[in-house]
Amino acid sequence: MEWLESFDWLAALRAGVILLVGWALAKGGSLAAGRAARRYTAAQETMLVQRVVFYGVLALSVVTALQQMGFNLGVLLGAAGILTVAVGFASQTSASNLISGLFLIGERAFVVGDTIKVGNTTGEVLSIDLLSVKLRTPDNLFVRVPNETMIKAEITNLTRFPVRRLDLLLGVNYREDMAKVQRVLQEVAERNPLCLSEPAPLFIFTGFGDSAMNLQFSVWAVRENFLELRNSIQHEIKQAFDANGIDIPYPQRVIHLAEPVTVRPEGAGQGSVE
């Protein structure tokens, strides 16, 4: 009861009002800062600016409110210091992710909307947050990759440059005339409107394989058309090879026997085949 009588209700009310006003200011300030930053920064940096402003203003209002209620901030900060050490040990991973997040945002290796490949995961970047990067994979799964992993991993940004190269690895029969194969492939590339005329398609005779002459045919496409080209050109190459009698061989083995072997068909009494 004594406690109730000594409690400064007016100060508590003032603190409440300060908290409310502080929250409103933080919300308004973060929105305004976001709007201003959007003009000059990428989406994830805007998000970061908004959060810093929001939590900064909110923290200031909490401190002011506590002061109004008569708390000794010095003691509170001292306690917070000890607590920080304890929490710091416990949340090493989070802190590491947080710092990695800041580096990721600063480095700008990718932005929200890019398609990236991290390890075995490929996906569109949904957001770059302080602790993790969120991806949406092509089969519509949500993947959260911790920033610490992102910093250490090799990241491939598939959408940084506007054009991409598609490398097709083919093998043709040893009977085929390589000049004819090259001409047929060039014609297929010329006919496909999604295949860029320049940079020109690249033809490399990569070597003599076990069963086929190996070659690489590389064509360029605008990245939006990459998948469509990948499907259409392989189909067209198959059709053109069939039309021109060019054979893509199966693995073959030629066996030379030291001594001739007699092969007798099943059920045949006579007439052996040598």
Binding site: E190, P199, V222
Partner: protein
């Protein structure tokens, strides 16, 4: 005699009828069904450069099955529709038919063919726009980082109009390049920003853009000397068919045409 019959203009298709426009190797089918327009497109094989035939009064059932079809629903469609030709929406890159060098203080004349697009409009609405024959994409920059998207012209630039392959789906741009530098200018490829050009129809039925004159200055930079404001002299008694897709002041035009020898900037040809 008309070299190319016009496939563009205003047409009337009563309900329950269809029309077929054979333009070069492509065929465009339009059917007027109850409360809707159906537009089908069939891309054909190469050849038939000058073909331009319009057949009206067909039945919708005659539309080929392989046609790429789009449907447009209307409460009460008007039987009138118009087809308009226009130039490509990106720069077009073509190459001269033979390796071409311009010695100092010399000037050459080239004729470049660029593919046409078509628009189908009705009741003041644009229903569909597409290339008559889809040209190949190409990249205009010297490497794969700077530059922009362009279309590759399927024909070579020619130095004379003798035996010129006029086409129902390509327009010709007369291009004069003067070399005012002291060294030889090599013309390997021509990056023509057609979205800045107008389309004209000559009396004999051929399609043209205005003439472009460029000069190569001492430091190798190309400058736009003159961009015709009307049809070229080669296109006698011509009429304007389509305004340019993009308008620009002289500075921007100079920049766009300054990339004529390749190394063009962004998708619209402006560095």
């Amino acid at each position: 005699m008309q070299r190319i019959q016009p496939w563009w203009g205003d047409f009337e298709l009563a309900e329950g009828t269809a029309g077929c426009w054979a333009i070069g190797p492509a065929r465009l089918w339009i059917a007027h069904q109850p409360r809707e327009w159906r537009i089908g497109y069939v891309s054909g094989d190469e050849g038939h450069e000058e073909r331009s035939e319009v057949a009206l009064g067909l039945t919708p059932e005659q539309m080929p099955e392989q046609a790429r079809l789009s449907r447009y629903s209307f409460e009460s469609p008007s039987p009138r529709l118009s087809l308009l030709p226009l130039l490509a929406d990106r720069p077009v890159i073509s190459r001269p038919d033979v390796n071409l060098f311009i010695p100092p203080a010399q000037s050459i004349q080239l004729y470049v063919s660029t593919p046409l697009w078509l628009q189908v409009r009705t009741q003041g609405l644009l229903l569909q726009e597409q290339a008559v024959v889809r040209p190949s994409d190409t990249w205009s920059g010297p490497t794969t980082r700077p530059g922009g998207l362009a279309y590759a012209a399927s024909t070579m630039a020619r130095a004379s109009l003798r035996d010129f392959p006029y086409s129902a789906w390509r327009a010709v741009t007369p291009l004069r390049i003067t070399n005012r530098a002291n060294d030889m200018a090599a013309v390997e490829r021509l990056h023509l920003p057609v979205p800045f050009l107008s389309l004209y129809l000559a009396a004999e039925g051929t399609l043209w853009t205005q003439a472009v004159e460029l000069s190569r200055s001492g430091d190798g930079v190309l400058e736009l000397e003159r961009l015709g404001s009307e049809a070229p002299v080669e296109a006698a008694d011509s009429v304007l068919l389509a305004e340019p897709r993009r308008r620009a002041d002289r500075g921007l035009l100079g920049k766009a045409f300054g990339t004529l020898f390749g190394g063009g900037g962004s998708d619209d040809g402006v560095a």
